[in-house]
Amino acid sequence: MAPDRLHCLRHRGPWSTRRRSATVTLLLVTAAHDFELSADDPGALARAVEMAEAGSVVRLTRDGKPVAEVTPYHPGLEQERRTSENLSALFAEAARQRAECPDGEARHARMMREFAEANGGPATAADYAQFLRSTGMAEAEAEAEAVAIAEATRALLDRHPDPPTDRR
């Protein structure tokens, strides 16, 4: 491995994930170094680890022959990997749901119906008013808009009466 060569570790990180697609980011490793393991230099391994932590790929050698590589460890890498896996799973499930129910309004209706099922009935105008007040809306305006929201939701569910698929 040539010194100072750039190595690109291919991985899917959260910073590269966009809606319904994931691109690839590059982790740049600054350089590669050889360390000869020798009884005369007991600190070599510690230095090798330090360099790996700083981003270098370190090749350990004995009698000039490679015996191991110390690869860089990025503290955030494990978290990035898990985040990437989480998002991949979510986007895959989302794509499945979209294929199952392509119409956006129907998906909205399905979601509202599932909320109602989970909460023992649809939200009332009072529920909506309570939420609207938490947004800073004035009492009178919140109450009027809450009634409109409740009516719109009822109309939506009437337009899409099909029972939802149970995905819980």
Binding site: N86, L87, F131
Partner: protein, 131 residues
Amino acid sequence: MTDPLGGWVLDVAALVAFADRARYAEAVLATAAQRGLTLLVPSPALSQAYDARPHHIGGPRLATLLEHPLALVSSPSDVPLELLRKLAEIAGGDQVAAHVAYLADRRGWSVLTDRGELLRRIRPGLVIIPA
């Protein structure tokens, strides 16, 4: 009331409410639909919400949100890296909070969150809606 250019940024707590199928999330969705608001979902916050509940329960519910016509997922790659670092430093290293605060500040949108104090420390003046 319709504000087609407006929206809310959903922090982790608000997304967890969707994973729980809570009444709060129902109100968020119905109100957003009525007012034509975009629900901006920061992808790192989404991942944290996904981890906060059993995947087989919360996952499909969060995926349903992602497929909702009002939802839009935002990636931190849209934020200049150096700025993200600086904001995260203010947040004690919390890149998720930094990303959420940046998005809300940049768009001038409110944040649905349970950590308004932290987000306001990152970006003073943010409008917080308690989640």
